[in-house]
């Protein structure tokens, strides 16, 4: 083939490609300018876990180990302990509480089984999704990272209302 037909072919290809690209420019934009703009997450998004407290601020978890038993990737580590003080002063809602509650995000697959298993509604998935760290050991989150009273929520997300037309849905353009 001659060099001339080569040039013609590639020019045609460029024009074809660019015409698609240029046609998109006036259309509505889907890119989120993260981290300058917050991402919108679905209400049932499964982000970093939250350990909940009751109205008196006592931890709801009773260290029953059911979440650890349900966890398919074996990433929940709990040490239970007793807190025999009067009810109001306790750390948790019950005498039995989790002295140590760790989740290893190096292993967690965000399946939500722990949330399903919990009989006390003590653990849910939160929305924090920025979990990357510089060392692998930092992926191990302790109770201080997980408690709803202590976990810092990222400013980089907003949660969609349940009736909102959630934009991450696949759309035919």
């Amino acid at each position: 083939m001659s060099i001339i037909s080569d040039i013609i072919d590639s020019t045609k290809a460029i024009i074809k490609g660019m015409s698609i690209t240029l046609a998109q420019i006036p259309k509505e934009k889907w890119t989120v300018q993260y981290p300058d703009d917050p991402v919108t997450l679905q209400p049932r998004y499964r982000g970093q876990h939250l350990l909940h407290v009751d109205e008196l601020g006592r931890e709801k978890c009773v260290a029953c180990f059911l979440c650890a038993a349900a966890c398919p990737s074996d990433c929940i580590y709990i040490i239970a302990d007793d807190d025999p003080r009067p009810e109001e002063e306790r750390i948790g809602v019950d005498e039995r509480y989790a002295k140590i509650y760790n989740i290893d995000y190096g292993r967690c697959i965000f399946c939500g089984y722990c949330v399903e298993a919990c009989p006390k509604d003590a653990i849910t998935h939160g929305y924090n999704f920025e979990l990357s760290v510089y060392t692998r050991a930092d992926l191990l989150k302790t109770k201080d990272d997980l408690l709803i009273t202590k976990q810092k929520q990222s400013p980089n997300y907003r949660v969609a209302f349940s009736d909102e037309d959630v934009d991450s849905e696949y759309k035919e353009i």
Binding site: C64, A69, A80, D82, D94, E95, K120
Partner: protein
């Protein structure tokens, strides 16, 4: 029980059953499931839970199958709408007062009530009334109590009374207000924890394991208890290299002991993960210097060189090898092989309190299993204190008498608690047990014996009469008080007195978990005993290789003996009086970390299984011995496998011929060693020697009065409180607990003669 057979029809199928059989057992063994709570075989009937209801034709109402004895032609239905409705109703009643918070209950995951509710419970509670509330509390350092969860099956009160004879836990109050309680708010008992084990719910819980772990997380390992010669089977629950608990629940293990364990077996396991465990091999380079941590290679090299030096300078006989009645058969065998084949010395022994060699040499009848004891007709107990030192035997004796109607003859210098069960209690002067044996064996000596024993001659002839009147099994038990000659004499009694109707069986009461094994292996047959070996230290004995430690008893009076040695090699778990003079200390693995076998006082060879990896750098004893042999240039060819050691051991030990690990696998079918029955022989010499020694007994010695409580003083304050910090806080509302705490190190490093009245000699860690 007569063997007459009768016909019972269950759900339309006919079965031939033994007359007198319990209906619930018959249903179950034929595959007709019947739920139950309060029924517990071999305990008094209770019939309080009513979950075992069945329909029996011609009876007006549904019947509790746990109390019905089968009769000929009985027609039974175990499944129908009516029965289902009744059972569901019963379970609903059981839950009416039961809190619905399994997540905080330690029994969750292995709870019989949970299982019952899965099968028979409703989805919803219909009761809207307030439930009874009672706060959780501790009944003792080891028994936690949550009264609300009780379903009043009264298994706890029955085992406490029937197994243990303690009667420390009882039901009080009436109707819905019935609670399980104690006398004085505190469990004043031997703290065996059997009530915890049999409780189907989370009402009685292990205080030391409380809120520590969940059952499904634990790796359950079936193994043999290391604390006494009964050899109870138990399941060690471990998590992450730590032994969390020891249980005998029938869902995990079904050994000779059923669900029975004593305080030692159940609660004294924390020594395994104790922080004072030896961590590395250590060498004392200079006499009087310090033990310096070393690597295994260095330590073995050092020990081997020194052994070679000693052998070169003084000959092989200058080296002594000392095993232990607490370590496995495999470990003792390796030591014996080391003595015979590597060193070539006849100076080997084991650190037992007394030797059973004379008994086994004259053995006139087989060994009784614990089951035999339960169904014996007559039991003769000479010396010993089984309730404290062999608690399972104690329990079996009590049940044989209480539930089986056996006659018990107790010959003891102390009014031990079992004498309450005895048909006859012969209270003798301390140290005169031999005289009793002589009188039992030969009526010519009644007068002499009675005089020395401080009893009436008729008491002795009555006892002999009871034995000779027995139809069925007569079991003879004896403790360590007997002299070797008396042991032989006793062992020969069956030859003179066995008949078709009457069978004799023996049940020796050695002190340690593998006393019988150490004897069987042949380790007790060396030229020395532990004490005489110490006596010869520094003279003809220049070097000792010791597995375990000498007992304080052996060291008493010759405390300095060990310092006179040129070389002392010790493999131990902890620092002890023996390691104090050791030149090389090698860290050994505990029973929870090693594979092997123990032989119990029934002669049953039972498996010991590793539940966790050896702590720190420790190694199983037999591996250490093999490694030392290797360093000395001899390959034992054990291939790092305990089963290889056992195969070799079984080949070379007559009583164990043919045994292999696969054969010992099933704890429900234990295998008995075949101890050779000695033929009848002339005992004139023994009798004469006994007579002479008895003649010289003091006739004025005071008898010991008073019944010592069982278990109370066996354990000294120790480690356990550290494991239950909440105990101190909870105890605030309780009466002050008596000092019934456990030192896990008790039997490992401390051996105060195992007698309550002896002064305890703390060796280490206490």
């Amino acid at each position: 029980m007569s063997s007459e057979s009768i016909k019972v029809t269950i759900n339309g199928s006919d079965y031939q059953v033994e007359k007198g059989a319990r209906l619930i057992d018959v249903c179950r063994s034929n595959g007709h499931a019947v739920p139950s709570f309060c029924y517990y075989s071999d305990l008094a009937l209770q019939a309080s839970c009513r979950t075992c209801l069945v329909r029996i034709e011609k009876m007006p109402k549904l019947q509790t199958s746990c109390t019905i004895t089968c009769t000929d032609g009985m027609i039974v239905t175990t499944e129908s709408d009516e029965i289902e409705k009744a059972r569901r109703g019963m379970v609903e009643f059981l839950l009416a007062n039961h809190p619905l918070d399994c997540p905080v209950c330690d029994r969750g995951g292995e709870c019989e009530l949970q299982e019952m509710v899965f099968d028979w419970g409703g989805l919803e509670e219909r009761f809207r009334e307030r439930k009874n509330y009672a706060p959780e509390k501790y009944l003792s350092p080891v028994v936690a109590n949550d009264p609300q969860r009780c379903i009043l099956c009264k298994r706890c009160t029955r085992v406490c009374d029937e197994w243990m004879g303690e009667d420390a836990i009882e039901a009080g109050g009436r109707g819905v207000n019935t609670v399980i309680g104690t006398y004085g708010g505190w469990l004043n008992c031997s703290q065996c924890g059997n009530c915890i084990e049999v409780c189907p719910t989370g009402t009685l819980l292990d205080g030391t394991y409380r809120h520590q772990a969940r059952p499904w997380e634990l790796e359950q390992t079936i193994t043999t208890c290391t604390f006494c010669s009964d050899g109870c089977q138990m399941s060690l629950g471990s998590r992450g290299g730590e032994v969390m608990r020891a249980v005998a629940r029938d869902r995990y293990v079904n050994g000779i002991n059923g669900e029975f364990l004593c305080i030692k077996g159940r609660f004294a396991h924390p020594f395994v993960n104790h922080e004072e465990r030896l961590r590395t091999p250590m060498i004392r380079y200079r006499k009087g210097g310090k033990l310096i941590p070393a690597t295994w290679d260095q330590a073995l090299e050092f020990a081997a060189n020194k052994l070679r030096e000693t052998a070169d300078a003084h000959g092989a006989e200058a080296i002594g090898v000392v095993g232990s009645p607490r370590i496995t058969n495999e470990a003792n065998y390796a030591l014996l092989k080391f003595a015979n084949e590597v060193v070539g010395t006849s100076n080997y022994t084991a650190t037992d309190r007394f030797s059973l060699a004379p008994f086994f040499e004259s053995l006139g009848a087989g060994l009784a299993t614990h089951r035999d004891i339960r169904f014996a007709k007559t039991i003769v107990l000479v010396g010993g204190e089984p309730e404290e030192l062999q608690p399972l035997t104690g329990k079996q004796i009590r049940q044989a008498v209480r539930n089986g109607g056996a006659k018990l003859i107790v010959i003891n210098s102390r009014a031990i608690r079992l004498q309450q069960q005895a048909a006859q209690f012969i209270h003798i002067r301390p140290g005169a047990e031999d005289a009793a044996v002589l009188a039992l064996a030969d009526e010519r000596f009644d007068e002499l014996a009675a005089k020395k024993l401080g009893v009436d001659a008729s008491e002795l002839s009555t006892a002999r009469g009871t034995v000779l009147d027995t139809e069925g099994n007569c079991i003879i038990m004896f403790g360590g008080e007997l002299s070797p000659a008396a042991q032989s004499l006793l062992a020969q009694i069956p030859h003179a007195a066995s008949t078709d109707k009457r069978r004799f069986l023996f049940h020796p009461l050695p002190l340690y978990n593998n006393s019988v094994g150490a004897h069987d292996i042949g380790l007790m047959g060396g030229a020395h005993t532990a004490s005489s070996l110490l006596g010869a230290a520094g003279a003809e004995i220049r070097a000792l290789y010791v597995a375990g430690s000498f007992l304080p008893d052996h060291l008493r009076g010759q405390e300095e003996a060990l310092s006179k040695l040129d070389l002392l090699i010790v493999q131990e778990l902890f620092e002890t009086e023996t390691t104090r003079y050791a030149d090389v200390v090698l860290p050994a693995a505990s029973f929870a970390e090693t594979d092997g076998t123990f032989t119990n006082n029934d002669g049953l060879v039972q498996r010991v299984r590793a539940s966790i990896p050896p702590a720190h750098q420790s190694k199983p004893d037999w591996m250490i011995t093999a490694a030392l042999a290797q360093t000395l240039g001899m390959d034992f060819n054990f291939q790092m496998s305990a089963s290889t050691v056992f195969r070799e051991l079984a080949e070379r030990t007559t009583a164990y011929n043919g045994m292999r690990y696969p054969l010992l696998k099933d704890e429900t079918k234990p295998v008995q060693a075949k101890h050779a029955i000695a033929p009848r022989r002339d005992l004139a010499d023994e009798i004469e020697a006994l007579r002479l020694s008895i003649e010289s007994l003091d006739e004025t010695a005071e008898k010991i009065m008073g019944t010592p409580p069982v278990g109370h003083e066996l354990f000294k304050p120790g480690e356990l409180t550290g494991k239950v910090p909440q105990f101190h806080l909870l105890a605030a509302g309780n009466p002050k607990p008596p000092d019934v705490l456990i030192s896990p190190l008790y039997q490992i490093t401390i051996d105060a003669g195992l007698r309550r009245t002896d002064e305890a000699v703390a060796v280490a860690g206490d």
